[in-house]
Amino acid sequence: MLKFISILLTREFKKIYFIFFILIILFVSLIVCYFSYKDYSFNNHQNIVVQNKLTEDEYYEIYSNGSYNNYLLYYESYIKESMNKVKLSNLFSDNNLFCFENIYKVQVFLSVFSIVIGSSILLSEYKNGTIKLFLNVGASRFKVFLSFLISCIFLIIILNLILFLAFTLFLIIFNNSFELFKLKVPIIFNDDVIYVNYYLKSFLEFILNMLPVIFIGSFSFFISIIFLSQLFSLCLSFFLNVFGLVVFQWLLEYKIRFLMYSFIPYLDYTIFDDKLNIVLFNIEHGTNLSIFNGNVMLMLYFVIAFFVSLWFFLKRDVN
């Protein structure tokens, strides 16, 4: 099966649409990195001054030197000294190194690419009639199905990784340094404070945010096999991905809480405040949304959709 997957991947890498996706990712990364680097406003400075109770002298000292290195060094010592006073989540909000956070906004748009890949990778074989040749290469239908699914997921992961690497590269270029890798960021769990490498933390968050992207791509794959319609698969997946959360919010106002047991509210993890829960939904509607629940729901619906589409793939006549 590994050989099967490697052959499929080799072919997909050479396809024009995949190269086009990569070029779009590189272009968008370049634009976002450039503008997010340039974009730090006076208001943000003021916020930090207020939140961190800086004196005017301290503020002047930091900015008159003009160096972000000094700025960061100052804050690192400041954090250690006055941990209780500082609202840590806003500490680095002004630092343009942290425009890396914008990667999560771009990552959500990768769902569009993953939907296109998922809906076309196996269905295009049906359209060409080449699915018959795949069923005749000595592999069972189950293996063929699994190979295409794994290839689809692998392609989505590769696109994500390209985005991550592109962001890293462009930010290094714009910052003209490798500070991104050196930075430590404090995270508070109750009263305990731990410092983690910012780059590693971002990568782990990126991996976490990749799960809904992989899910919606796979969902599109499954729907395309069940209905044998690329248009329907694309439309349904796009609708759920783009409007799902809006519709969900609207339905919650009518107290339709069982929707929290669907996968719809979990298609975008970036909406989760502090990566723990959605405070707004929890308070207003009494729902229990969290990334943990999201992972469970996405896994559950992935397995259900997998078996349903597999059944269709195994049992349906190939004409």
Binding site: N128, T130, K132, L133, N136, V137, G138, D317, N319
Partner: protein
């Protein structure tokens, strides 16, 4: 000689419409069998059943193994339209599918392409129907199949290429071949046996010694016969 392909009580039904009814057939290894029938008589469905593309009742055994349970086959086939990647070149198509099989002899494949006079550098969507058919024939032979199932292989081919195809098929000594075609004359030239199918039933089976006796019009009459 040992029976290579055995079909027992094969039935295929789509809703209330019986496509194949109680098909029983035994084919020896290396035999070339022609399947003849009117449009919609079930020829293509029979080949699809053997390939495991469609579900059916009954049993199809190759070398004593059930087709549906054992997927490790070494088949070659052309079913209906040539199944090709239209936006790739002919050579890319060959290269891609050759990766799935072991011991693909690309020299043999190239020699086939040369003999069919096929330009492999062109994209397939610029091929004529005949060129696509030739490429599909070459792809069906790429893995040196034990069983070759050809549905209307002469579609779009000119007389020269039909002659070439006939010669190629006759050189495949160990390959069992089932050919479905409307061209009875052509089938008579290469087949060891002819099977006449009408309304999903085998209505007549003729050996080479017997079908050479009949005239073309008599053979055509068998197509509409209802007896087995």
């Amino acid at each position: 000689m040992k029976k290579y392909l055995v079909i027992k009580n094969l039935r295929k039904q789509i809703r209330d419409n019986a496509i194949l009814q109680n098909i029983n057939l035994q084919v020896k290894k290396g035999e070339i069998v022609g399947i003849v029938g009117l449009n919609g008589s079930g020829k293509t469905t029979l080949l699809k059943c053997i390939l495991g593309f469609v579900n059916y009742d009954g049993g199809i055994f190759i070398d004593g193994k059930n087709v549906l349970c054992n997927k490790l086959h070494n088949f070659g086939f052309i079913i209906e339209n040539p199944n090709l990647y239209l936006h790739s070149s002919g050579w890319d198509n060959i290269k891609f599918w050759s990766k799935f099989y072991k011991n693909v002899d690309l020299k043999y494949v190239k020699s086939l392409c040369d003999s069919f006079n096929l330009d492999l550098r062109k994209k397939v969507n610029k091929y004529s129907l005949g060129m696509k058919q030739k490429l599909a024939i070459i792809l069906s032979l790429i893995n040196k199949p034990e069983l070759l199932l050809l549905d209307e292989p002469t579609n779009g081919l000119d007389m020269k290429n039909i002659f070439l195809l006939r010669n190629v098929l006759l050189t495949l000594k160990d390959t069992t071949i089932l050919i479905s075609s409307h061209d009875i004359n052509e089938l008579c030239k290469i087949c060891n046996r002819l099977i006449f199918i009408n309304k999903g039933k085998i209505v007549k089976v003729l050996d080479k010694s017997s079908f050479l006796v009949y005239s073309e019009s008599e053979l055509i009459n068998f197509l509409e016969s209802n007896y087995a």
